[in-house]
Symmetry: C2
Subunit: 333 residues, 2 copies
């Protein structure tokens, strides 16, 4: 970096031979976050992750961040400090520098807009439009944890139960895990860079709106259909336990839960052995969840018994209003 905060613009020296990546995300109070269930640090952290995850989905290395924030008069400067502390914690983990921004008053809620740059070797960018019929579909990590964590936070019920000591130790540990997955998701930067460096992925996207919603983007932009195997969807033990205790379908959690910030990607079937070797060598966690089909097949879900049905595509709400949507109701809509 040649010049950061304190002038009309930041001045950076682009890496030669690299493509520059630019992404921006806006988070609005009451839409993307709720100060009843997340601290300012949590919000800052997750806002940074949302952008880091976009760079990961392009196979890039994140580099510089600009932050614009509008702050209502009801918030104190230490609230803003905490917001930045959360952002900077996520940035430090990935060696990202804050180089500029804008701070404004707000007559209404808190708004946070982050722009992140990254870079990737020219010609190795991961895009959404390269999936071909016969390619294999993979995801990183596990799915549904974030939505399970959010529902726990919003119900507040289990937290109170946990506090009162009514929950056994394992359940408490699981709940902490799910809440942490919701508040502090991991951007899959290492995985994205690996896929780009080895030219493995034919298409990639990060899961911010849930598997069913984000798969649509890859299919539309690649002009293909897809078949997902429900039995192959990776679920954490905590998510399975939560689903069982709440009498929820864990497959539904995995398909519709947003904000997991895992990567969904396709590889050609010939690359499978190479991907699996790489996963073992690097400790990265990839699960094969389905196959790219012709466009006319649409998006389908195949169950263990071999039956197949059309995949329902639901939009993801970043949070439910706990005053109006009770604990279980979020699942029965």
């Amino acid at each position: 970096m040649l010049r950061g905060i304190g002038d009309d613009a930041a001045v950076i020296r682009p890496s030669s031979g690299h493509a520059l990546l630019l992404t921006t995300d806006l988070l609005a109070e009451g839409i993307h976050f709720d100060l009843r269930t997340a601290t300012f640090e949590d919000i800052g952290y997750k806002a940074a992750v949302a952008n880091l995850s976009d760079i990961a989905a392009m196979g890039g290395r994140p580099q510089y961040m600009l932050v614009a924030v509008a702050i209502p008069a009801s918030r104190t400067s230490s609230d803003v400090d905490r917001l930045y502390r959360g952002m900077m914690r996520a940035c430090r983990l990935h060696k990202v520098e804050l180089v500029g921004g804008d701070t404004s008053a707000s007559r209404h809620g808190l708004f946070l807009s982050i722009t992140l740059t990254g870079f990737v070797q020219a010609g190795r960018v991961l895009t959404r439009d390269g999936a071909r019929v016969g390619d294999l579909l993979y995801v990183t990590g596990t799915l549904g944890d974030s939505l399970a964590g959010l529902t726990l936070l919003e119900s507040g019920r289990d937290r109170r139960a946990a506090a009162s000591g009514r929950l056994n130790q394992r359940r408490r540990r699981y709940q902490s895990y799910l809440i942490d997955r919701h508040l502090h998701p991991t951007p899959r930067i290492k995985e994205g860079q690996l896929l780009a460096a080895h030219r493995l992925a034919t298409a990639a996207i990060d899961l911010s709106d849930g598997l069913s919603g984000d798969l649509v983007h890859i299919c539309e932009q690649s002009g293909v259909g897809a078949e997902i195997e429900t039995s192959a969807l990776p679920l954490s033990p905590a998510c399975r336990a939560y689903a069982a205790a709440s009498r929820l379908d864990p497959v539904r959690l995995a398909l519709t839960g947003g904000e997991d910030y895992e990567l969904l990607f396709s590889i050609s079937s010939g690359s499978r052995a190479k991907l699996e070797r790489l996963a073992r060598r690097t400790g990265c966690h990839f699960s094969r969840i389905g196959t790219v089909r012709p466009k006319r097949a649409g998006l389908r879900l195949r169950r263990v018994n071999g039956s197949s049905k059309r995949l329902a595509i639901a939009g993801y709400q970043h949070f439910q209003d706990p005053r109006t949507i009770p604990h279980e109701a979020a699942w029965s809509r």
Copy 2:
């Protein structure tokens, strides 16, 4: 550009041998704009200009734009179209491409955050910290027009008078000019590039908060003081006429009026002849308004009669609430 809207991030090819500029600005409803005095197109246009002006102040050529917008449910999609139309109009004038963004719902007002990239030949970036004692201070264009236009818009009085035909033709023309200068300011990109290409400016900044406010940034970052000659402040005939009709001090308009988006810059005294030659050749308008002084001298204002006083530094409010601040009162605070 390699890839624009429609993936997780935009992919651009940086120009080799150039420094990359990055700037971001957030505009909040009720703080930076008021839908009672500006249309969605006006707001979009000026939001783009605020960013273009930052790139101008670095001597750069603007290139790619990302837009994040949070929209309340009360706004229609054609409002958003108009907002983008305004932004794109400013972008087209300066060959800027929209490469990405984010759109969100808003529970509260409209928020708009723009990030703009630009580039400038490495080593020729205009910064705020290079002004030296003895340097000459210049501005582009004229000062105070935007604040005069804003006050006209907010009072509504003169517009009604204009509509009723009570104003003479020249006054109507002047008022339209001032309102247009407020709603559609010109980012001084050509001027900034000229100063950078010829290595003329020792420091530069754009005037978004008013001359007195922005001069402070150059002085603080360069570790110097400054003396401004009131008689040298460039005023448009329209602004002079408006000040006379409203019994206002035009110097105060020029010093405190924000959003003129002119450039303030310093050059070494030896570069004066070269700057003036360039101005004649290119048709650019530069006015010498003062001199860089030692830091201990502070910021001073020298009147025609030779008397000198300390420059008062006032923060700029992007608009007054017309229900609470009457037409003239804005000047007597």
